[in-house]
């Protein structure tokens, strides 16, 4: 009786798994990006940038459904398309649009690690032990150093002009004083000469 039951289980599982043999195929998609680990997106504090990553289904023979999700860094990176499920027709590409915003109070050099996961949306049929594929796109968004501030240059110029101005005034005063001192001396000398 036990043996008979075991056979039933064996036959049942076998029947379920045999169905899998006929439906094996290939899954392949790719994501293109201008940013990756080691090549970060650089933004100024408070700056916003729109950019896109591209889903490729160039060699597939059937349309591909991919779900995009920002799994890390959602405070600075958001998906902007109306749906986060993208249908990429066979042999084509599709852009995934994103917007990155760095907080205004972000410190220069501060890095925000962001990660976007792209998962193939796939449903299993009866008898399938199915697998899907997913790609995680990971990079940093870095706060840039602020551009050299204009007031610093103005202050430097101001200091230079003040120094030059003061120096000129001092020189003028000294020269005037010297000429004043000489004046009475010359007059006394001329009186003496007259007396003789």
């Amino acid at each position: 009786m036990k043996n008979a039951n075991k056979m039933m289980v064996r036959k049942g599982i076998l029947a379920g798994l045999i169905a899998l043999i006929c439906i094996s195929s290939i899954s392949a998609f790719a994501v293109s990006s201008d940013y990756w680990g080691g090549h970060s997106l650089q933004l100024n504090p408070g700056e916003t940038k729109e950019f896109s990553l591209t889903l490729q289904n160039l060699v597939g023979t059937s349309d591909l459904r991919v779900k995009a999700l920002v799994t890390s860094g959602s405070a600075v990176l958001k998906l902007v398309d109306s749906s986060n499920v993208y249908v990429v027709p066979a042999g084509e590409k599709k852009n995934v649009n994103l917007i990155a915003t760095i907080p205004i109070n972000s410190k220069p050099g501060q890095a925000y690690n962001v990660k976007i996961d792209f998962s193939e949306v796939r449903e299993s049929s009866s008898g399938e032990f199915g697998f899907g594929t997913a790609i995680g796109q990971n990079f940093d968004i870095i706060t840039m150093l602020p551009p050299e501030q204009e007031p610093t240059g103005v202050n430097k110029n101001l200091m230079l002009f003040i120094i030059i101005g003061i120096a000129l005034i001092v020189i003028t005063i000294l020269i005037l004083k010297k000429t004043k001192k000489r004046k009475p001396h010359k007059k006394v000398g001329s009186h003496k000469k007259r007396k003789r």
């Binding site: 036959k11 599982i13 379920g16 899954s27 790719a30 990756w36 090549h39 399938e128 020269i175 000429t179």
Partner: protein, 324 residues
């Protein structure tokens, strides 16, 4: 006479004061109008210009930096690169067949220099200027980053013109191909142990230009497993934790059944397959290690109480292989 001298002294003094006041005025004017900012910034640069009459000169390549992304494997990606040559003696003395473009990944280790002899043609020409367009082919495994473009041409007297001032930015392409996408097992009974799949290995192929994982054990290839529920009675299932995976097979018991590199896979959690690495490269050469990885699967134990029915991912999400 004295009056004349005094008058002369006062006159000098006035002139002197006038000049100083004028100077102060000019300086103040300069400051408040920013006039000095325009004339006091003096930049001295040493410019080395070699002018040799009759030798060609490439004065422009591509109008600056260009950007492109590569198509997934096994496709190639073509890119037109233009450059303009000036020849004072006339463009009729340029040797069109020597027009050439090389591109090299800056800082790239082990990267191929891309060049194609005969890929450049003259498409525009005047008395002294000739523009060439070159069709550069790149492949899915060419590295991401800045590629230096070197354009060159000879004239009929073998005088060379060379320009490498421009770069081409190539983005990252991340992806892999997986086959098969469904695993099968031979017939087994309740309580069976160490049953390996009969249609593995699962072949993973890098179809992009990014290295996935590294030899020191950082895999970046992970598996999210789910239970395989019974299709008739879903209260019974093959538990995700009872499966294991390894990058090799063989031995007794089979190595993929011995805990595996992903250990006991966890339900609804990505488990890193620590020994799996997907290097980038031209996998079409047939070398098993170039751009490829293989995964072998094992069902370590099937519950002794499992009833006879089909077990599948029908009522659960499929397992997911993720690279990052």
């Amino acid at each position: 006479m004295k009056k004349g001298k005094e008058f002369e002294g006062n006159k000098n003094k006035r002139v002197f004061i006038f000049i100083f006041l004028l100077l102060i005025g000019v300086i103040a004017f300069g400051y408040f109008t920013g006039f000095f900012g325009k004339i006091t910034v003096l930049v001295t640069k040493n410019l080395g210009i070699n002018i040799t009459i009759g030798v060609p000169f490439i004065n422009e390549v591509m109008n600056g930096t260009a950007t492109m992304s590569l198509a997934q494997a096994p496709l190639s990606t073509s890119r037109e690169i233009n450059f303009t040559v000036y020849n004072v003696a006339g463009t009729q003395f340029l040797n069109d067949s020597t027009a050439k473009i090389n591109i090299t990944l800056i800082g790239g280790v082990g990267e191929v220099v891309r060049n194609q002899t005969g890929a450049c043609t003259r498409y525009n020409s005047s008395a002294n200027y000739a523009t060439y367009t070159c069709n550069m082919t790149m492949w899915w495994f060419d590295g991401s980053g800045y590629w230096n473009i070197s354009a060159s041409i000879l004239d009929n007297n073998s005088n060379a013109a060379y320009n490498s001032s421009t770069t081409l930015f190539v983005g990252a392409t991340t992806g892999f191909e997986m086959s098969p996408v469904n695993l099968t097992w031979p017939g087994m009974g309740a309580g069976s142990i160490n049953q390996t799949s009969d249609n593995d290995p699962m072949n993973l192929t890098n179809i992009g230009n990014q290295l996935v994982g590294n030899a020191s054990g950082t895999s970046n290839i992970s598996i999210n497993a789910t239970d395989l529920k019974g299709e008739t009675n879903n209260l019974f299932m093959l538990y995700a934790e009872n499966f294991s995976v390894w990058t090799a097979t063989g031995g007794s018991p089979p190595i993929e059944c011995d805990g595996g590199s992903a250990g006991n896979l966890s339900k609804n959690m990505f488990a890193n397959t620590t020994s799996a690495v997907l290097p980038k490269g031209n996998y079409t050469i047939g070398d098993i290690n170039t751009g490829r990885e293989q995964l072998w699967y094992c069902l370590r134990i099937a519950g002794a109480d499992l009833p006879s029915q089909a077990y599948s991912t029908l009522n659960m999400t499929p397992w997911t292989i993720k690279i990052y």
